[in-house]
Symmetry: D2
Subunit: 107 residues, 4 copies
């Protein structure tokens, strides 16, 4: 696992957008749309695959690269969305897992 | 910024799914579909809002809670997808920013 | 096959939105977002199903009703989007099939 | 409005897929995923536009062509999905409008 942190990546993303004057486009609505579009591009890789072919997706170097690229795009827009609305994504997920542990009790 | 890490959250998600026998459902295709569905649920909060209303979304406590909840769901499926395909999401994003710095030179 | 037409349904949708003062919300961007959200809600029904379970989705009356409901929502936003941008959806599809017949020659 | 009908277009789509041996891929789950992906491609055209720019999208010939092309793709997968599950899309929408007239009474 990398020693990169979410906070470092958010700082790089913010600096990148600011240097290119992209920040006016980065309101929460546009970022939520872009996140949804990138998630669909990730899904597109799998749309005609059987579950078995999907499980082996990383065996094909071209597909593996596309998967990594789309994962990066989804995460980039998620982190920028979180900056725009002031949400800490790791804390949000931690709280959600806490709630789900109550909602779906361990069998 | 929280001291939580992506690796810790992935371990909790994996344990949570294993304890409830949900892992057979978590192939990459299903997880990519679920990620896309959750991203759309985040977008749904914004679909009829003006950009100005969207920028103020966290002023409304109910909407703020929905936003945090959907961010958590998107991140949960993204992290589980990454576990299923063996991709390190932070490293993937870091590499993508490196590539984008070459592709979109600083003005 | 019903004798309903796309034009009749578009007229009903337009009258419905106008009577409820919803038209200011129906700009092309919002309608494209809403269409995408409804398509994801249709996908949600299938996200954890195997291909075999998916093929039998209409055998379950509750799921069958959800499928019909989401199909209606997708079509409603597609037709309203087409009104907003002045596109005839049937003609657009007919032209696309013509182009695809050249692009993917019959084997 | 064109004199094309949904039933004619469905017949052309079905014949097109059969001639290219694509039908094994066209189970309802895959078609719902493809529909969702195409709806996101339509949304992508609008993701960074202001509502005003979005309203004028058809003034740009390149964007206008992309819009028509994505509308065609969304409709193509919606109609093929409906064939796969045996739903009449126009009847489904007509019934939904009937229900919505009761659910959202005219002011």
């Amino acid at each position: 696992m990398s020693e990169l942190t979410v906070a470092q990546l958010q700082a790089r993303l913010e600096e990148f957008a600011a240097a290119r004057d992209w920040r006016p486009f980065h309101n929460p609505k546009n970022l939520a749309a872009a996140l949804s579009v990138e998630a669909a591009e990730l899904l597109e890789i799998f749309q005609w695959l059987t579950p078995e072919q999907a499980a082996a997706v990383m065996d094909d170097p071209d597909r593996a690269h596309r998967v990594e690229d789309e994962v990066a795009d989804v995460l980039a827009y998620l982190l920028q969305f979180c900056l725009a609305v002031g949400v800490d994504p790791l804390r949000a997920l931690s709280s959600k897992i806490d709630r789900n542990e109550l909602r779906f009790p361990r069998p």
